[in-house]
């Protein structure tokens, strides 16, 4: 087995554990590179099927290319899609800086969906290398009654034994990509030929390295117009992946507060 095989096998193992242990499970599908890889891994794990709903928490502020991608691949991949819209921004904590508030709106949309469908497990495609706070995550991460993360006292998790039981009213976040890096993701996309939104590829000297809402995500200067070129670019760059995401750095603790409140 090579490096990518090992990553894949570990993710498949996690997804199968989640499917076996958690009664009402859904996968978050943000339409970005990580969540497309995640859907792909689910098809690997379950031999061509995705045996739980795939959920797009719609901020209605995504790029048109992303909506087109969603509608096409929901069909082609035979996904059971949930695409509920987020509540208006006025309902969100007003003390947060603007970009963070936009992210918090998504958290609220997620919380509503969890309540509406009664999910007790949510699969999310976060990675440890993205951001220092995410680096502290568990693979199976328990969330409180309103989705909050008690990061000061996380349960132990080792030898691939996950904490899969939970008190009523709470849910688990499952992170099958936690051990992947951005580079791994692109190498796997290349190997498996996984379809991607074209915004990731450079046009007129710009491309998106990370895709969020239109108003809070910015493209980077790049000439990388193919997957292979992106990989070469990543081998050379020292710019962080989420540099184009405004919300991460509005204040030092912005991201921690978002995640503690239930953000992905």
């Amino acid at each position: 087995m090579n490096h990518l095989d090992r990553l894949e096998a570990q993710s498949v193992y996690i997804l199968r554990e989640a499917f076996n242990r958690i009664e009402k499970l859904a996968m978050l599908w943000s339409l970005g590179k990580d969540s497309n890889v995640m859907v792909w891994l689910a098809k690997k794990a379950f031999f061509g099927h995705v045996p739980f709903p795939v959920m797009h928490i719609d901020t209605e502020k995504k790029f048109p290319e992303m909506y087109a991608f969603r509608d096409r691949y929901a069909q082609e991949w035979n996904l059971s899609l949930i695409a509920d819209k987020c509540p208006p921004v006025e309902e969100v904590d007003q003390t947060l800086p603007p970009a963070a508030r936009s992210a918090a709106r998504k958290t609220l949309g997620l919380r509503n969906a969890i309540e509406r469908y009664g999910f007790n497990g949510i699969i999310a495609g976060i990675r440890r290398d993205e951001e220092a706070v995410r680096s502290k995550e568990r693979v199976f991460s328990p969330r409180g009654e309103s989705g909050q993360w008690d990061f000061r006292d996380q349960p132990p998790e080792f030898w691939d034994y996950f904490n899969t039981d939970l008190p009523p009213g709470t849910h688990l976040r499952v992170h099958p990509l936690l051990h992947w890096t951005e580079m791994d993701i692109w190498r796997y996309i290349a190997r498996e030929k996984i379809p991607m939104v074209e915004l990731y590829f450079a046009r007129n000297g710009k491309r998106y390295r990370s895709l969020g809402d239109q108003d809070i995500t910015f493209p980077i200067d790049s000439k990388a117009s193919t997957i292979e070129e992106i990989i070469i670019e990543l081998e050379q760059t020292r710019a962080p992946e989420r540099a184009g995401r405004a919300m991460d750095r509005e204040t030092e603790d912005a991201f921690e507060r978002l995640r503690a409140a239930g953000y992905m």
């Binding site: 087995m1 090579n2 490096h3 990518l4 095989d5 090992r6 894949e8 096998a9 570990q10 498949v12 193992y13 199968r16 554990e17 499917f19 076996n20 098809k43 690997k44 794990a45 379950f46 031999f47 061509g48 099927h49 045996p51 440890r128 290398d129 220092a132 706070v133 680096s135 502290k136 568990r138 328990p142 990061f151 000061r152 996380q154 349960p155 132990p156 998790e157 080792f158 030898w159 034994y161 904490n163 039981d165 939970l166 008190p167 051990h179 890096t181 190498r187 290349a190 190997r191 498996e192 292979e228 990989i231 020292r238 710019a239 962080p240 540099a243 750095r249 030092e252 603790d253 921690e256």
Partner: protein, 620 residues
């Protein structure tokens, strides 16, 4: 494009504040791995707090960690050398966060153990080493950090090195390197230290690069725990991840503990060629030639090298639960995909990593390391940790959370597989022409087994022979099966290994059942220390089985010591002697208990005779 590069996972451990996170931050910087803007960001954080620059802030991402200058939870970061890629796992050193240290360390292949030169070896330096050993991490670098605070003095380094190497040696660890360093300034991490010219060996990076990627799991016997069974379409797929050994299409698989057998017809795959074989770490799905009923929790192996089956084992565990572990308590035992109830039968010892001593205890407190005996009702399929690190370990859960992890030893406990499987299915019992009723009316009493169990020297044989004599006198059909007699003939081919001892008892149980069926009252006089063996004997003789506990304290038996066996066991001349170095499991619910501490031989015999008169007479 090199996807073939190797990745090694390394954890940093050691006492609180000895500089672990600092080392990670600095190492990251010195290998040129720091993202643009990160250095300035950390500077900003330190200035806001009015403190000097802290490398640790790279890893200590929580506000509370930065505010208190302490790591709470484990974090991971990636960097590469020309040789390979690394995942560096930073672990907290504070005793309160041992659960997080274990969470980080358990997945590592190598460890860096940090010691502050100005403080020397501290409590968590020792506990962490002990835990690394338990977690199975064998490649270890010791870094003596903050050498600047010790004036970069060679003798200070040598003294700490000597003390710690001696300690590690006692718990069976030989560190691969011991390196003096100043993590904050980068001395001997990536670049050689100018201040410590006396140190001529490798830097931390060159030490890391010299390690081997671990895990020759391929050479071990096949173990495939079944994680789930899928029927999404017309296929019925058994899914699981191979933890050791290799599997090929066409292999005959034995599933334990159900003991079913089937052949691998195909290995399934989506969007890829179906493979013809698979190796450790692979998450696979197989279809078998026969539709056997298999559930999550079974372990597939080859027939020739199957796991041990047992319902009791020794576990060495670290306890993370808030409530202490208590003898008699029940927890959920998880072994790969298996999940069953177990009871803590015994707490054998608690280890003190500081003094390396052991002490007996009734409970195990949070963060303590203990040897226990765990027993389940269901049969388990497992291996000893020494034979297979993957199937030789377990975790315990209490309610929602994991509360312990540990390794398995079977010392003194036999493999029960042979003992449960052999009742052949293609043999039909031939009917006798004499009925049980006819036998009872001829003899005037029922047949049955009086199964004596108890320590050596408790009085089993003495009482058995006296009971036989008196029963005979009173007109009963009776016979005693005694250990030495049976060993001379029927069981002369058996040794005293745990397996053979169990087989000895199994045969006695079956023979006794036949005697009983013939209408006789059989008295057996064997220590028969294991409940599982006695349960099997009971199953053989069914209703006719009467367990009689010949009870005497160990002190009494040692004092009697009729054959001088205890003396020889104490002096080490006899290994594995019941009650001394091997367990005796007292009966849960014997039909009769004879306490020979209190009763004379005559009184004991009378009590058994009274019992027989009540239970075996024709009309009782």
């Amino acid at each position: 494009m090199s996807t073939e590069r190797e990745l090694m996972r390394v954890v940093i451990v050691g006492h609180v504040d000895h500089g672990k996170s600092t080392l990670v931050g600095r190492l990251f910087h010195d290998t040129g791995s720091l993202a643009d803007g990160k250095l300035e960001q950390i500077k900003g954080m330190c200035e806001r707090r009015g403190m000097p620059f802290e490398w640790a802030f790279l890893m200590d991402a929580f506000q509370s960690e930065r505010d208190q200058g302490i790591t709470i939870d484990t974090a991971q970061i990636w960097f590469k050398t020309p040789k390979r890629d690394y995942t560096i796992i930073d672990a907290p050193g504070h005793r309160e966060f041992i659960k997080n240290m274990i969470t980080g360390a358990a997945s590592a292949e190598a460890a860096i153990m940090l010691i502050d030169a100005s403080q020397g070896v501290q409590q968590q330096s020792r506990t962490h080493a002990f835990l690394l050993n338990l977690l199975g991490i064998r490649q270890i670098i010791v870094v003596v950090n903050k050498m600047d605070l010790a004036g970069c003095d060679e003798r200070t380094f040598a003294a700490i090195k000597a003390e710690y190497v001696r300690y590690l040696d006692e718990i069976g660890i030989v560190p691969n390197f011991v390196i003096p360093a100043v993590a904050r300034d980068g001395d001997n991490l990536v670049h050689r230290s100018e201040r410590m010219g006396w140190y001529q060996d490798g830097t931390l990076i060159s030490a890391l690069d010299s390690f081997q990627s671990q895990g020759e799991l391929r050479a071990l016997p096949l173990r495939l725990p079944i994680q789930d069974v899928y029927k999404f379409d017309d296929r019925r797929i058994l899914a699981g991840r191979i933890v050791s050994g290799r599997l090929k299409v066409g292999d005959r698989l034995l599933f334990s503990p159900s003991n079913k057998v089937a052949r691998v017809k195909t290995i399934e795959a989506w969007n890829a060629e179906p493979p013809l074989e698979a190796e450790p770490g692979q998450s696979i799905g197989i279809i078998t030639d026969e539709q056997i009923f298999i559930e999550r929790g079974e372990i597939a192996s080859h027939e020739k090298a199957a796991p041990i089956e047992t319902n009791v084992f020794h576990g060495r565990l670290f306890w993370l639960g808030r409530k202490p572990l208590t003898r008699g308590d029940t927890y959920r035992l998880r072994m790969l995909s298996r999940d069953v109830q177990v009871t803590v039968e015994r707490i054998e010892a608690i280890y003190d990593p500081d003094s390396l001593s052991q002490r007996p205890a009734e409970t195990v407190e949070r963060n303590e390391i203990a040897d226990v005996v765990l027993r389940s009702y269901a049969l388990l399929a497992l291996d000893e940790a020494d034979d297979n690190p993957q199937t030789g370990r377990f975790v315990l859960s209490d309610g929602a959370n994991i509360v312990a992890g540990g390794t398995i030893s079977m010392r003194d406990y036999p493999d029960q597989r042979k003992l449960v499987t052999v009742r052949s299915t293609n043999i039909t019992a031939v009917a006798h022409r004499i009925t049980n009723t006819q036998r009872v009316s001829r003899n005037g009493h029922k047949g049955g087994v009086l199964w004596f169990t108890g320590l050596s020297g408790a009085g089993k044989s003495t009482i058995a022979m006296a009971v036989e004599q008196e029963l005979f006198r009173r007109g009963y059909q009776t016979y005693v099966l005694d250990g030495d007699n049976v060993r001379r003939g029927l069981n002369s081919n058996l040794s005293f290994s745990p397996e053979d001892r169990a087989e000895n008892i199994r045969r006695v149980g079956e023979v006794a059942a036949l005697f009983a069926d013939s209408g006789q009252i059989v008295v057996t006089a064997f220590i028969s220390p294991y409940r599982s063996d006695r349960r099997r004997a009971r199953a053989a003789a069914k209703d006719g089985f009467h367990e009689i506990y010949i009870k005497a304290s160990l002190e009494t038996c040692e004092k009697r010591d009729p054959k001088g066996l205890y003396r020889r066991a104490r002096s080490g001349e006899i290994a594995e002697f019941t009650g001394v170095t091997a367990p005796y499991e007292t009966p849960d619910a014997p039909e009769l208990t004879i306490d020979t501490d209190r009763l004379s031989v005559e009184e004991s015999v009378a009590a058994v005779l009274d019992y027989v008169d009540r239970k075996f007479r024709k009309h009782s």
